[in-house]
Symmetry: none
Subunit: 151 residues, 4 copies
Protein backbone atom coordinates (compact mmCIF):
# COMPACT_ATOMS: atom_id res chain seq x y z
CA UNK A 1 0.00 0.00 0.00
CA UNK A 2 1.14 3.51 -0.74
CA UNK A 3 0.97 6.40 1.65
CA UNK A 4 0.32 9.67 -0.13
CA UNK A 5 0.55 13.22 1.15
CA UNK A 6 -2.04 15.62 -0.18
CA UNK A 7 -3.03 19.24 0.30
CA UNK A 8 -6.06 19.72 2.50
CA UNK A 9 -8.80 22.30 1.99
CA UNK A 10 -7.40 24.75 4.56
CA UNK A 11 -4.08 24.77 2.74
CA UNK A 12 -5.74 25.07 -0.66
CA UNK A 13 -7.64 28.15 0.48
CA UNK A 14 -4.47 29.73 1.87
CA UNK A 15 -2.72 29.12 -1.44
CA UNK A 16 -5.59 30.79 -3.27
CA UNK A 17 -5.43 33.68 -0.80
CA UNK A 18 -1.75 34.18 -1.63
CA UNK A 19 -2.49 34.31 -5.33
CA UNK A 20 -5.48 36.62 -4.84
CA UNK A 21 -3.40 39.10 -2.85
CA UNK A 22 -0.84 39.27 -5.64
CA UNK A 23 -3.52 39.59 -8.32
CA UNK A 24 -5.21 42.38 -6.39
CA UNK A 25 -1.88 44.26 -6.21
CA UNK A 26 -1.47 43.81 -9.97
CA UNK A 27 -5.01 44.92 -10.60
CA UNK A 28 -5.71 41.81 -12.67
CA UNK A 29 -8.72 39.72 -11.57
CA UNK A 30 -7.75 36.06 -11.87
CA UNK A 31 -9.25 32.58 -11.85
CA UNK A 32 -7.34 30.38 -9.43
CA UNK A 33 -7.57 26.60 -9.06
CA UNK A 34 -5.87 24.33 -6.55
CA UNK A 35 -5.83 20.58 -7.18
CA UNK A 36 -4.54 17.63 -5.20
CA UNK A 37 -1.65 15.37 -6.23
CA UNK A 38 -4.03 13.38 -8.46
CA UNK A 39 -5.18 16.51 -10.26
CA UNK A 40 -8.65 16.61 -8.67
CA UNK A 41 -9.95 20.05 -7.79
CA UNK A 42 -9.87 21.06 -4.11
CA UNK A 43 -10.77 24.74 -4.33
CA UNK A 44 -11.44 27.39 -6.96
CA UNK A 45 -12.09 31.12 -6.97
CA UNK A 46 -12.94 33.45 -9.82
CA UNK A 47 -12.18 36.99 -8.72
CA UNK A 48 -14.83 39.47 -9.86
CA UNK A 49 -13.87 40.20 -13.47
CA UNK A 50 -11.92 36.97 -14.03
CA UNK A 51 -12.32 35.59 -17.53
CA UNK A 52 -14.77 32.81 -18.35
CA UNK A 53 -12.36 30.64 -20.32
CA UNK A 54 -10.00 30.83 -17.36
CA UNK A 55 -12.41 28.77 -15.26
CA UNK A 56 -11.31 25.74 -17.24
CA UNK A 57 -7.85 26.93 -18.17
CA UNK A 58 -6.79 27.49 -14.55
CA UNK A 59 -7.96 23.98 -13.67
CA UNK A 60 -6.05 22.52 -16.60
CA UNK A 61 -2.89 24.39 -15.62
CA UNK A 62 -3.16 23.11 -12.05
CA UNK A 63 -3.83 19.57 -13.26
CA UNK A 64 -0.86 19.63 -15.64
CA UNK A 65 1.52 21.03 -13.04
CA UNK A 66 0.48 18.54 -10.35
CA UNK A 67 0.51 15.57 -12.69
CA UNK A 68 3.68 16.40 -14.64
CA UNK A 69 5.31 17.76 -11.46
CA UNK A 70 6.60 20.73 -13.43
CA UNK A 71 5.74 24.35 -14.02
CA UNK A 72 3.57 24.58 -17.13
CA UNK A 73 5.75 27.34 -18.59
CA UNK A 74 8.73 24.99 -18.70
CA UNK A 75 6.84 22.95 -21.30
CA UNK A 76 6.10 26.06 -23.33
CA UNK A 77 9.67 26.82 -24.25
CA UNK A 78 10.46 23.30 -25.41
CA UNK A 79 7.25 22.42 -27.26
CA UNK A 80 8.61 23.22 -30.72
CA UNK A 81 7.74 21.42 -33.97
CA UNK A 82 10.52 19.14 -35.17
CA UNK A 83 12.70 19.71 -32.13
CA UNK A 84 14.95 16.77 -31.24
CA UNK A 85 13.49 16.73 -27.71
CA UNK A 86 10.39 15.21 -29.24
CA UNK A 87 8.03 17.09 -26.92
CA UNK A 88 5.93 18.82 -29.54
CA UNK A 89 2.33 17.69 -29.29
CA UNK A 90 2.15 17.53 -25.51
CA UNK A 91 -0.15 20.59 -25.66
CA UNK A 92 -2.87 18.66 -27.48
CA UNK A 93 -2.75 15.58 -25.26
CA UNK A 94 -5.85 14.64 -23.25
CA UNK A 95 -8.02 16.66 -25.60
CA UNK A 96 -5.99 19.76 -24.85
CA UNK A 97 -6.26 19.37 -21.08
CA UNK A 98 -2.47 19.30 -20.88
CA UNK A 99 -1.70 22.99 -20.67
CA UNK A 100 1.73 24.40 -21.53
CA UNK A 101 0.97 28.04 -20.88
CA UNK A 102 2.54 29.66 -17.84
CA UNK A 103 0.51 29.84 -14.65
CA UNK A 104 0.58 26.24 -13.46
CA UNK A 105 2.96 25.29 -10.64
CA UNK A 106 3.34 22.13 -8.60
CA UNK A 107 3.13 22.40 -4.82
CA UNK A 108 5.58 20.28 -2.89
CA UNK A 109 6.29 19.18 0.63
CA UNK A 110 9.61 17.57 1.55
CA UNK A 111 10.41 17.15 -2.13
CA UNK A 112 7.16 15.42 -3.03
CA UNK A 113 4.40 16.97 -5.11
CA UNK A 114 1.21 17.13 -3.04
CA UNK A 115 -0.86 19.34 -5.32
CA UNK A 116 -0.83 22.11 -7.88
CA UNK A 117 -2.02 25.64 -8.52
CA UNK A 118 -3.25 27.09 -11.80
CA UNK A 119 -3.84 30.79 -12.46
CA UNK A 120 -5.40 32.30 -15.57
CA UNK A 121 -6.76 35.62 -16.88
CA UNK A 122 -3.61 37.73 -17.17
CA UNK A 123 -0.57 37.40 -19.38
CA UNK A 124 1.39 34.18 -18.92
CA UNK A 125 3.97 36.18 -16.94
CA UNK A 126 1.31 37.63 -14.64
CA UNK A 127 -0.31 34.23 -14.22
CA UNK A 128 3.03 32.70 -13.18
CA UNK A 129 3.66 35.49 -10.66
CA UNK A 130 0.29 34.99 -9.01
CA UNK A 131 0.71 31.22 -8.96
CA UNK A 132 4.13 31.69 -7.37
CA UNK A 133 2.60 33.95 -4.73
CA UNK A 134 0.23 31.10 -3.90
CA UNK A 135 3.11 28.65 -3.61
CA UNK A 136 5.06 31.13 -1.50
CA UNK A 137 2.15 31.49 0.89
CA UNK A 138 2.05 27.72 1.32
CA UNK A 139 5.78 27.39 1.83
CA UNK A 140 5.82 30.22 4.35
CA UNK A 141 2.95 28.81 6.37
CA UNK A 142 4.01 25.19 6.19
CA UNK A 143 7.52 25.86 7.44
CA UNK A 144 8.11 24.05 10.75
CA UNK A 145 8.27 27.20 12.83
CA UNK A 146 4.94 28.52 11.65
CA UNK A 147 2.88 25.50 10.85
CA UNK A 148 1.99 24.63 14.38
CA UNK A 149 0.44 28.05 14.86
CA UNK A 150 -1.45 28.31 11.61
CA UNK A 151 -2.30 25.05 9.95
CA UNK B 1 -28.68 46.29 -23.80
CA UNK B 2 -29.53 44.07 -20.87
CA UNK B 3 -28.51 44.74 -17.30
CA UNK B 4 -27.88 41.54 -15.39
CA UNK B 5 -27.44 40.97 -11.68
CA UNK B 6 -24.89 38.36 -10.71
CA UNK B 7 -23.43 36.91 -7.52
CA UNK B 8 -19.99 38.24 -6.70
CA UNK B 9 -17.11 36.24 -5.22
CA UNK B 10 -17.69 37.45 -1.66
CA UNK B 11 -21.28 36.27 -1.80
CA UNK B 12 -20.30 32.97 -3.41
CA UNK B 13 -17.86 32.27 -0.60
CA UNK B 14 -20.49 33.07 2.03
CA UNK B 15 -22.91 30.71 0.35
CA UNK B 16 -20.28 27.98 0.42
CA UNK B 17 -19.62 28.75 4.07
CA UNK B 18 -23.30 28.24 4.86
CA UNK B 19 -23.29 24.86 3.14
CA UNK B 20 -20.02 23.83 4.78
CA UNK B 21 -21.35 24.61 8.26
CA UNK B 22 -24.37 22.41 7.66
CA UNK B 23 -22.26 19.61 6.18
CA UNK B 24 -19.92 19.74 9.16
CA UNK B 25 -22.88 19.39 11.55
CA UNK B 26 -24.08 16.39 9.51
CA UNK B 27 -20.61 14.89 9.50
CA UNK B 28 -20.69 14.50 5.70
CA UNK B 29 -17.81 16.11 3.81
CA UNK B 30 -19.24 17.71 0.67
CA UNK B 31 -18.18 19.23 -2.64
CA UNK B 32 -19.83 22.63 -3.09
CA UNK B 33 -19.98 24.72 -6.26
CA UNK B 34 -21.40 28.19 -6.77
CA UNK B 35 -22.00 29.45 -10.29
CA UNK B 36 -23.23 32.73 -11.73
CA UNK B 37 -26.51 33.28 -13.58
CA UNK B 38 -24.86 32.00 -16.79
CA UNK B 39 -23.72 28.79 -15.11
CA UNK B 40 -20.02 29.72 -14.99
CA UNK B 41 -18.17 28.68 -11.85
CA UNK B 42 -17.41 31.41 -9.29
CA UNK B 43 -16.15 29.34 -6.36
CA UNK B 44 -15.70 25.72 -5.37
CA UNK B 45 -14.63 23.83 -2.26
CA UNK B 46 -14.09 20.15 -1.67
CA UNK B 47 -14.21 19.48 2.04
CA UNK B 48 -11.57 16.99 3.16
CA UNK B 49 -13.12 13.61 2.34
CA UNK B 50 -15.49 14.91 -0.35
CA UNK B 51 -15.96 12.49 -3.21
CA UNK B 52 -14.07 12.83 -6.48
CA UNK B 53 -17.06 12.45 -8.80
CA UNK B 54 -18.75 15.19 -6.80
CA UNK B 55 -16.23 17.72 -8.12
CA UNK B 56 -18.05 17.58 -11.44
CA UNK B 57 -21.46 16.62 -10.15
CA UNK B 58 -21.71 19.60 -7.81
CA UNK B 59 -20.81 21.92 -10.70
CA UNK B 60 -23.42 20.31 -12.93
CA UNK B 61 -26.08 20.62 -10.23
CA UNK B 62 -25.27 24.31 -9.77
CA UNK B 63 -25.27 24.88 -13.54
CA UNK B 64 -28.61 23.14 -13.98
CA UNK B 65 -30.27 24.99 -11.11
CA UNK B 66 -29.01 28.40 -12.27
CA UNK B 67 -29.85 27.80 -15.91
CA UNK B 68 -33.23 26.09 -15.44
CA UNK B 69 -34.04 28.38 -12.50
CA UNK B 70 -35.31 25.42 -10.55
CA UNK B 71 -34.17 23.06 -7.83
CA UNK B 72 -32.65 19.99 -9.47
CA UNK B 73 -34.72 17.65 -7.30
CA UNK B 74 -37.94 19.04 -8.81
CA UNK B 75 -36.85 17.53 -12.12
CA UNK B 76 -36.15 14.19 -10.48
CA UNK B 77 -39.72 13.43 -9.53
CA UNK B 78 -41.12 14.22 -12.97
CA UNK B 79 -38.47 12.66 -15.21
CA UNK B 80 -40.37 9.42 -15.81
CA UNK B 81 -40.39 7.36 -19.02
CA UNK B 82 -43.59 7.75 -21.00
CA UNK B 83 -45.06 10.36 -18.71
CA UNK B 84 -47.39 12.81 -20.42
CA UNK B 85 -45.31 15.73 -19.14
CA UNK B 86 -42.75 14.77 -21.77
CA UNK B 87 -39.79 15.60 -19.53
CA UNK B 88 -38.06 12.24 -19.63
CA UNK B 89 -34.64 12.59 -21.22
CA UNK B 90 -33.73 15.93 -19.66
CA UNK B 91 -31.16 14.06 -17.52
CA UNK B 92 -29.10 13.09 -20.55
CA UNK B 93 -29.14 16.50 -22.22
CA UNK B 94 -25.85 18.34 -22.75
CA UNK B 95 -23.95 15.07 -22.48
CA UNK B 96 -25.43 14.48 -19.04
CA UNK B 97 -24.46 17.91 -17.74
CA UNK B 98 -28.12 18.55 -16.96
CA UNK B 99 -28.41 17.04 -13.50
CA UNK B 100 -31.76 16.03 -11.99
CA UNK B 101 -30.44 14.76 -8.66
CA UNK B 102 -31.18 16.83 -5.58
CA UNK B 103 -28.55 19.27 -4.37
CA UNK B 104 -28.80 22.04 -6.96
CA UNK B 105 -30.68 25.21 -6.03
CA UNK B 106 -31.03 28.55 -7.80
CA UNK B 107 -30.04 31.68 -5.89
CA UNK B 108 -32.32 34.67 -6.39
CA UNK B 109 -32.44 38.35 -5.60
CA UNK B 110 -35.67 40.30 -5.94
CA UNK B 111 -37.21 37.41 -7.82
CA UNK B 112 -34.44 37.06 -10.37
CA UNK B 113 -31.98 34.18 -10.49
CA UNK B 114 -28.45 35.54 -10.04
CA UNK B 115 -26.62 32.24 -9.57
CA UNK B 116 -26.83 28.70 -8.31
CA UNK B 117 -25.38 26.32 -5.75
CA UNK B 118 -24.66 22.63 -6.22
CA UNK B 119 -23.78 20.20 -3.43
CA UNK B 120 -22.70 16.58 -3.81
CA UNK B 121 -21.23 13.70 -1.78
CA UNK B 122 -24.10 12.79 0.53
CA UNK B 123 -27.55 11.38 -0.16
CA UNK B 124 -29.74 13.58 -2.37
CA UNK B 125 -31.63 14.63 0.77
CA UNK B 126 -28.42 15.62 2.56
CA UNK B 127 -27.16 17.43 -0.51
CA UNK B 128 -30.39 19.47 -0.73
CA UNK B 129 -30.19 20.38 2.96
CA UNK B 130 -26.64 21.67 2.62
CA UNK B 131 -27.48 23.58 -0.56
CA UNK B 132 -30.45 25.13 1.24
CA UNK B 133 -28.17 26.16 4.10
CA UNK B 134 -26.05 27.96 1.54
CA UNK B 135 -29.07 29.73 0.10
CA UNK B 136 -30.27 30.62 3.59
CA UNK B 137 -26.91 32.16 4.41
CA UNK B 138 -27.17 34.32 1.32
CA UNK B 139 -30.75 35.37 1.98
CA UNK B 140 -29.97 36.21 5.59
CA UNK B 141 -26.93 38.30 4.73
CA UNK B 142 -28.44 40.00 1.70
CA UNK B 143 -31.53 41.20 3.55
CA UNK B 144 -31.66 45.02 3.51
CA UNK B 145 -31.01 45.39 7.24
CA UNK B 146 -27.83 43.35 7.18
CA UNK B 147 -26.36 43.83 3.76
CA UNK B 148 -24.87 47.23 4.41
CA UNK B 149 -22.89 45.83 7.29
CA UNK B 150 -21.67 42.64 5.74
CA UNK B 151 -21.53 42.61 1.95
CA UNK C 1 -23.74 41.63 -6.22
CA UNK C 2 -22.36 42.50 -9.63
CA UNK C 3 -24.23 44.42 -12.29
CA UNK C 4 -23.32 43.27 -15.78
CA UNK C 5 -24.14 44.83 -19.15
CA UNK C 6 -24.97 42.39 -21.91
CA UNK C 7 -26.08 42.52 -25.55
CA UNK C 8 -29.77 41.91 -26.07
CA UNK C 9 -31.29 39.96 -28.94
CA UNK C 10 -32.27 43.05 -30.94
CA UNK C 11 -28.67 44.22 -30.86
CA UNK C 12 -27.34 40.77 -31.68
CA UNK C 13 -29.52 40.60 -34.79
CA UNK C 14 -28.38 44.04 -35.90
CA UNK C 15 -24.77 42.97 -35.48
CA UNK C 16 -25.43 39.91 -37.61
CA UNK C 17 -27.19 42.10 -40.17
CA UNK C 18 -24.05 44.24 -40.43
CA UNK C 19 -21.91 41.18 -41.04
CA UNK C 20 -24.39 39.68 -43.51
CA UNK C 21 -24.46 42.87 -45.59
CA UNK C 22 -20.68 42.82 -45.84
CA UNK C 23 -20.60 39.11 -46.69
CA UNK C 24 -23.23 39.61 -49.38
CA UNK C 25 -21.15 42.36 -50.98
CA UNK C 26 -18.14 40.04 -50.90
CA UNK C 27 -20.18 37.22 -52.34
CA UNK C 28 -19.07 34.87 -49.54
CA UNK C 29 -21.88 33.16 -47.59
CA UNK C 30 -20.87 33.17 -43.92
CA UNK C 31 -21.79 31.64 -40.58
CA UNK C 32 -22.16 34.36 -37.97
CA UNK C 33 -22.45 33.92 -34.21
CA UNK C 34 -23.09 36.54 -31.56
CA UNK C 35 -22.54 35.65 -27.92
CA UNK C 36 -23.02 37.49 -24.65
CA UNK C 37 -20.26 38.57 -22.26
CA UNK C 38 -20.20 35.06 -20.75
CA UNK C 39 -19.72 33.45 -24.15
CA UNK C 40 -23.26 32.05 -24.41
CA UNK C 41 -24.88 32.21 -27.85
CA UNK C 42 -27.52 34.91 -28.42
CA UNK C 43 -28.05 34.63 -32.17
CA UNK C 44 -26.70 32.69 -35.10
CA UNK C 45 -27.25 32.74 -38.83
CA UNK C 46 -25.84 30.51 -41.55
CA UNK C 47 -26.24 32.27 -44.87
CA UNK C 48 -27.30 29.91 -47.64
CA UNK C 49 -24.08 28.23 -48.69
CA UNK C 50 -22.24 28.80 -45.39
CA UNK C 51 -19.88 25.98 -44.42
CA UNK C 52 -20.86 23.30 -41.95
CA UNK C 53 -17.72 23.40 -39.82
CA UNK C 54 -18.26 27.13 -39.51
CA UNK C 55 -21.36 26.53 -37.42
CA UNK C 56 -19.04 25.52 -34.60
CA UNK C 57 -16.05 27.62 -35.59
CA UNK C 58 -17.98 30.89 -35.63
CA UNK C 59 -19.30 30.13 -32.15
CA UNK C 60 -15.81 29.36 -30.87
CA UNK C 61 -14.44 32.59 -32.36
CA UNK C 62 -17.22 34.60 -30.72
CA UNK C 63 -16.70 32.82 -27.41
CA UNK C 64 -12.95 33.38 -27.47
CA UNK C 65 -13.26 37.06 -28.37
CA UNK C 66 -15.86 37.75 -25.67
CA UNK C 67 -14.06 35.78 -22.97
CA UNK C 68 -10.50 36.90 -23.74
CA UNK C 69 -11.75 40.41 -24.59
CA UNK C 70 -9.52 40.44 -27.66
CA UNK C 71 -9.76 39.94 -31.41
CA UNK C 72 -8.97 36.31 -32.18
CA UNK C 73 -6.51 37.28 -34.91
CA UNK C 74 -4.33 39.07 -32.35
CA UNK C 75 -3.66 35.69 -30.77
CA UNK C 76 -2.80 34.22 -34.15
CA UNK C 77 0.23 36.41 -34.71
CA UNK C 78 1.76 35.72 -31.30
CA UNK C 79 0.96 32.00 -30.89
CA UNK C 80 4.39 30.82 -32.03
CA UNK C 81 6.21 27.72 -30.79
CA UNK C 82 9.07 28.63 -28.46
CA UNK C 83 8.29 32.35 -28.45
CA UNK C 84 9.27 34.17 -25.27
CA UNK C 85 5.70 35.48 -24.86
CA UNK C 86 4.76 31.99 -23.77
CA UNK C 87 1.39 32.07 -25.50
CA UNK C 88 1.85 29.00 -27.69
CA UNK C 89 -0.72 26.39 -26.75
CA UNK C 90 -3.65 28.74 -26.24
CA UNK C 91 -5.13 27.41 -29.50
CA UNK C 92 -5.66 23.93 -28.08
CA UNK C 93 -7.08 25.00 -24.72
CA UNK C 94 -10.63 24.01 -23.76
CA UNK C 95 -10.51 21.12 -26.20
CA UNK C 96 -9.70 23.52 -29.03
CA UNK C 97 -12.64 25.79 -28.24
CA UNK C 98 -10.19 28.67 -27.81
CA UNK C 99 -9.91 29.87 -31.40
CA UNK C 100 -7.01 32.00 -32.62
CA UNK C 101 -8.12 32.35 -36.23
CA UNK C 102 -9.30 35.76 -37.38
CA UNK C 103 -13.03 36.44 -37.37
CA UNK C 104 -13.74 36.81 -33.67
CA UNK C 105 -14.14 40.31 -32.21
CA UNK C 106 -15.28 41.52 -28.81
CA UNK C 107 -18.18 43.96 -28.67
CA UNK C 108 -17.85 46.72 -26.12
CA UNK C 109 -19.93 49.46 -24.56
CA UNK C 110 -18.28 52.25 -22.55
CA UNK C 111 -15.04 50.28 -22.46
CA UNK C 112 -16.58 47.06 -21.16
CA UNK C 113 -16.98 43.90 -23.20
CA UNK C 114 -20.68 43.03 -23.42
CA UNK C 115 -20.47 40.30 -26.05
CA UNK C 116 -18.64 38.99 -29.08
CA UNK C 117 -19.08 38.17 -32.74
CA UNK C 118 -17.55 35.28 -34.65
CA UNK C 119 -17.58 34.87 -38.42
CA UNK C 120 -16.45 31.85 -40.41
CA UNK C 121 -16.54 30.41 -43.94
CA UNK C 122 -14.24 32.79 -45.81
CA UNK C 123 -10.52 33.47 -45.52
CA UNK C 124 -9.45 34.77 -42.11
CA UNK C 125 -9.15 38.22 -43.68
CA UNK C 126 -12.69 38.07 -45.05
CA UNK C 127 -14.01 36.73 -41.76
CA UNK C 128 -12.42 39.62 -39.85
CA UNK C 129 -13.88 42.15 -42.28
CA UNK C 130 -17.37 40.78 -41.86
CA UNK C 131 -17.03 40.60 -38.10
CA UNK C 132 -15.83 44.21 -38.10
CA UNK C 133 -18.85 45.21 -40.19
CA UNK C 134 -21.02 43.69 -37.49
CA UNK C 135 -19.20 45.61 -34.77
CA UNK C 136 -19.43 48.81 -36.80
CA UNK C 137 -23.17 48.38 -37.16
CA UNK C 138 -23.47 48.07 -33.38
CA UNK C 139 -21.24 51.05 -32.65
CA UNK C 140 -23.10 53.21 -35.15
CA UNK C 141 -26.50 52.36 -33.75
CA UNK C 142 -25.52 52.46 -30.12
CA UNK C 143 -24.04 55.94 -30.35
CA UNK C 144 -25.91 58.32 -28.02
CA UNK C 145 -27.54 60.32 -30.81
CA UNK C 146 -28.96 57.32 -32.55
CA UNK C 147 -29.62 54.78 -29.90
CA UNK C 148 -32.76 56.36 -28.54
CA UNK C 149 -34.36 56.12 -31.96
CA UNK C 150 -33.30 52.64 -32.84
CA UNK C 151 -32.55 50.35 -29.93
CA UNK D 1 -1.91 18.08 4.92
CA UNK D 2 -3.82 14.86 4.41
CA UNK D 3 -2.30 11.41 4.50
CA UNK D 4 -3.98 9.04 2.10
CA UNK D 5 -3.69 5.27 1.75
CA UNK D 6 -3.70 3.95 -1.78
CA UNK D 7 -3.33 0.62 -3.54
CA UNK D 8 0.09 0.02 -5.04
CA UNK D 9 0.80 -1.70 -8.35
CA UNK D 10 1.71 -5.03 -6.77
CA UNK D 11 -1.63 -5.12 -5.01
CA UNK D 12 -3.49 -4.01 -8.11
CA UNK D 13 -1.98 -6.86 -10.11
CA UNK D 14 -2.90 -9.37 -7.41
CA UNK D 15 -6.47 -8.08 -7.45
CA UNK D 16 -6.61 -8.52 -11.20
CA UNK D 17 -5.12 -12.01 -10.82
CA UNK D 18 -7.97 -12.90 -8.45
CA UNK D 19 -10.54 -11.71 -10.98
CA UNK D 20 -8.80 -13.41 -13.88
CA UNK D 21 -8.74 -16.77 -12.10
CA UNK D 22 -12.49 -16.54 -11.51
CA UNK D 23 -13.16 -15.45 -15.10
CA UNK D 24 -11.07 -18.34 -16.42
CA UNK D 25 -13.08 -20.81 -14.36
CA UNK D 26 -16.28 -19.27 -15.74
CA UNK D 27 -14.90 -19.38 -19.25
CA UNK D 28 -15.71 -15.70 -19.77
CA UNK D 29 -12.81 -13.51 -20.92
CA UNK D 30 -13.08 -10.23 -19.03
CA UNK D 31 -11.71 -6.69 -19.01
CA UNK D 32 -10.51 -5.78 -15.54
CA UNK D 33 -9.55 -2.33 -14.25
CA UNK D 34 -8.10 -1.38 -10.89
CA UNK D 35 -8.04 2.28 -9.89
CA UNK D 36 -6.72 4.15 -6.89
CA UNK D 37 -8.81 6.01 -4.33
CA UNK D 38 -8.98 9.03 -6.67
CA UNK D 39 -10.30 6.93 -9.53
CA UNK D 40 -7.07 6.95 -11.56
CA UNK D 41 -6.15 3.71 -13.31
CA UNK D 42 -3.38 1.63 -11.74
CA UNK D 43 -3.61 -1.55 -13.81
CA UNK D 44 -5.75 -3.01 -16.56
CA UNK D 45 -5.93 -6.33 -18.34
CA UNK D 46 -8.08 -7.45 -21.24
CA UNK D 47 -8.12 -11.21 -21.30
CA UNK D 48 -7.92 -12.61 -24.84
CA UNK D 49 -11.47 -12.32 -26.12
CA UNK D 50 -12.55 -9.53 -23.75
CA UNK D 51 -14.99 -7.08 -25.29
CA UNK D 52 -13.89 -3.74 -26.68
CA UNK D 53 -16.53 -1.58 -24.99
CA UNK D 54 -15.49 -3.18 -21.73
CA UNK D 55 -12.12 -1.42 -21.92
CA UNK D 56 -13.96 1.76 -21.03
CA UNK D 57 -16.81 0.24 -19.07
CA UNK D 58 -14.55 -1.59 -16.63
CA UNK D 59 -12.68 1.64 -15.97
CA UNK D 60 -15.92 3.53 -15.36
CA UNK D 61 -17.14 0.83 -12.98
CA UNK D 62 -13.89 0.95 -11.02
CA UNK D 63 -13.95 4.75 -10.96
CA UNK D 64 -17.55 4.86 -9.76
CA UNK D 65 -16.99 2.27 -7.03
CA UNK D 66 -13.85 3.98 -5.72
CA UNK D 67 -15.31 7.48 -5.84
CA UNK D 68 -18.79 6.68 -4.52
CA UNK D 69 -17.33 4.10 -2.12
CA UNK D 70 -20.08 1.68 -3.05
CA UNK D 71 -20.64 -1.36 -5.24
CA UNK D 72 -22.00 -0.18 -8.58
CA UNK D 73 -24.82 -2.74 -8.50
CA UNK D 74 -26.22 -1.15 -5.34
CA UNK D 75 -26.96 1.94 -7.43
CA UNK D 76 -28.65 -0.19 -10.07
CA UNK D 77 -31.45 -1.36 -7.84
CA UNK D 78 -32.35 2.11 -6.58
CA UNK D 79 -31.92 4.17 -9.76
CA UNK D 80 -35.63 4.14 -10.63
CA UNK D 81 -37.53 6.93 -12.40
CA UNK D 82 -39.77 8.83 -10.00
CA UNK D 83 -38.54 6.99 -6.92
CA UNK D 84 -38.64 8.98 -3.71
CA UNK D 85 -34.96 8.28 -3.07
CA UNK D 86 -34.21 10.82 -5.80
CA UNK D 87 -31.27 8.87 -7.18
CA UNK D 88 -32.50 8.49 -10.74
CA UNK D 89 -30.14 10.25 -13.09
CA UNK D 90 -26.90 9.23 -11.40
CA UNK D 91 -26.26 6.86 -14.32
CA UNK D 92 -25.88 9.69 -16.81
CA UNK D 93 -23.72 11.95 -14.63
CA UNK D 94 -20.20 12.85 -15.76
CA UNK D 95 -21.15 12.14 -19.35
CA UNK D 96 -22.19 8.62 -18.40
CA UNK D 97 -18.92 7.88 -16.65
CA UNK D 98 -20.86 7.14 -13.47
CA UNK D 99 -21.71 3.49 -14.00
CA UNK D 100 -24.51 1.74 -12.13
CA UNK D 101 -24.09 -1.70 -13.69
CA UNK D 102 -22.76 -4.48 -11.50
CA UNK D 103 -19.05 -5.21 -11.64
CA UNK D 104 -17.59 -2.26 -9.76
CA UNK D 105 -16.49 -2.72 -6.15
CA UNK D 106 -14.58 -0.48 -3.77
CA UNK D 107 -11.45 -1.88 -2.16
CA UNK D 108 -10.93 -0.95 1.47
CA UNK D 109 -8.29 -1.18 4.14
CA UNK D 110 -9.15 -0.58 7.79
CA UNK D 111 -12.50 0.82 6.78
CA UNK D 112 -11.16 3.33 4.28
CA UNK D 113 -11.53 3.05 0.52
CA UNK D 114 -8.08 2.83 -1.07
CA UNK D 115 -9.13 1.90 -4.60
CA UNK D 116 -11.66 0.11 -6.75
CA UNK D 117 -12.04 -2.73 -9.22
CA UNK D 118 -14.25 -2.80 -12.30
CA UNK D 119 -14.99 -5.89 -14.38
CA UNK D 120 -16.85 -6.02 -17.67
CA UNK D 121 -17.61 -8.41 -20.57
CA UNK D 122 -19.95 -10.92 -18.92
CA UNK D 123 -23.41 -10.55 -17.46
CA UNK D 124 -23.65 -8.10 -14.56
CA UNK D 125 -23.84 -11.10 -12.22
CA UNK D 126 -20.68 -12.60 -13.69
CA UNK D 127 -18.92 -9.26 -13.60
CA UNK D 128 -19.75 -8.85 -9.92
CA UNK D 129 -18.50 -12.33 -9.11
CA UNK D 130 -15.18 -11.70 -10.79
CA UNK D 131 -14.80 -8.32 -9.14
CA UNK D 132 -15.54 -9.92 -5.79
CA UNK D 133 -12.88 -12.56 -6.47
CA UNK D 134 -10.43 -9.72 -6.98
CA UNK D 135 -11.45 -8.09 -3.72
CA UNK D 136 -11.23 -11.43 -1.92
CA UNK D 137 -7.71 -11.96 -3.19
CA UNK D 138 -6.72 -8.57 -1.81
CA UNK D 139 -8.40 -9.11 1.56
CA UNK D 140 -6.81 -12.53 1.94
CA UNK D 141 -3.34 -11.29 1.15
CA UNK D 142 -3.57 -8.07 3.10
CA UNK D 143 -4.64 -9.75 6.32
CA UNK D 144 -2.11 -9.05 9.06
CA UNK D 145 -0.81 -12.61 9.24
CA UNK D 146 -0.08 -12.85 5.55
CA UNK D 147 0.75 -9.39 4.43
CA UNK D 148 4.25 -9.29 5.78
CA UNK D 149 5.15 -12.33 3.74
CA UNK D 150 3.54 -11.35 0.50
CA UNK D 151 3.08 -7.62 -0.05
Amino acid sequence: MLTINRLNLTEAKLIIEGAVQKAAKMGVPMCISVVDESGSLIAFERMDGGKIHSVTLSQDKAFTAASARKATHTFNQVCIPGDKNGLFGIHTALGGRMCIIGGGLPISHDGTVIGGIGVSSGSPKQDVECAQAGVDMFNRLSSPALSEHVL
